[in-house]
């Protein structure tokens, strides 16, 4: 895939990870201690606790890794500043060169075709003479 499409895929991936992270944290967060007056809320017996901290760490590492990969892709961009005129100029040059070479090719092709036709005609004459057992003049 070309690099701009890869960058776009990476942006989409980061958006997915972002919203997954925030959503998961928001859904699975254990209740927080509101004030020192009230005792610690009872821990929920299902998969919270250690699992939750683990999940949070994994998700954030994934997000940071995706961001780092995006930075690496940005570094690899073969683009330079303000190049539109230079590109258009280069395209015009290439077009001119292409035309010249095209004309040369056309000329060579025509000459080669002419020679081919000449050889064919001579060959047919020679084979006619041979088949009719006539000596060549």
């Amino acid at each position: 895939m070309d690099i701009i499409s890869q960058l776009q895929e990476q942006v989409n991936l980061m958006a997915q990870l972002t919203f997954n992270t925030i959503g998961t944290l928001q859904r699975d967060a254990p209740p927080n201690r509101l004030s020192p007056n009230y005792p610690e809320p009872p821990p929920h017996p299902t998969e919270d606790g250690a699992n939750f901290a683990e999940q949070a760490k994994q998700m954030s590492t994934a997000l940071v890794k995706a961001a780092k990969q995006f930075d690496a892709l940005v570094e690899a961009l073969p683009i330079s500043e303000g190049d539109e005129e230079a590109q258009v100029k280069r395209i015009a040059e290439l077009q001119a060169e292409n035309d010249i070479i095209g004309q040369e090719l056309q000329k060579q092709l025509e000459a080669a075709e002419k020679e081919l036709n000449q050889v064919r005609e001579l060959f047919s004459q020679a084979s006619d003479n041979c088949l009719n057992l006539k000596k060549p003049e």
Partner: protein, 168 residues
């Protein structure tokens, strides 16, 4: 059960009755449409320019102007994204009811990134065109060399065979 029959084909075929004898007696194809056209009740446009961010109602975070330094802006956008994420996490802890603005800012950052990437596409198209033209020029040069070489070889062969026949 009755089923509706298909609609008949458009009646233009009668105009082309004598096409094989006289190709000019039939009407020529309609010219390509320019501007906007309506198709199946929806308006489309043939003008393929990328709409700027303001037209889509999104704030533009990177500086406008003729020359944008894509790499620098992309890097700063990624930094802003991570910053906004941390802000969102903080605000969820302290003032959870005010998340909406932060989320909107995060989506603005994403839209800016996509717009910046899309605006790189014309540059990529021109670079691809340059590459293709260079390849074509190289192929044509090789073809010219090839033809020259073959003509030389055939000339040599003919001269040799002429010499061989004359000696006979």
């Amino acid at each position: 059960m009755s089923s509706a029959s298909y609609p008949p084909p458009p009646p233009f075929y009668r105009l082309y009755k004598n096409y094989s004898q006289d190709p000019n007696s039939a009407p020529s194809p309609p010219p390509p449409i320019e501007g906007s056209y309506i198709c199946f009740g929806a308006t489309h446009t043939t003008d393929n320019v990328l709409p700027s961010l303001e037209e889509q109602g999104v704030r533009q975070l990177y500086p406008k102007g003729p020359n944008v330094d894509y790499k620098k802006e992309l890097r700063s956008l990624v930094g802003e994204l991570l910053l906004h994420l941390l802000e969102l996490a903080d605000i969820l802890i302290q003032r959870p009811s005010q998340f909406a603005r932060r989320v909107e800012e995060i989506s603005t950052v994403f839209k800016n990134m996509h717009h910046l990437l899309n605006s790189m596409r014309p540059h990529q198209a021109r670079a691809t065109l340059i590459h293709i033209m260079e390849l074509q020029i190289q192929r044509r040069k090789e073809a010219v060399e090839d033809i020259k070489r073959r003509r030389g070889e055939s000339q040599k062969l003919l001269n040799e065979s002429l010499a061989a026949l004359d000696g006979n």
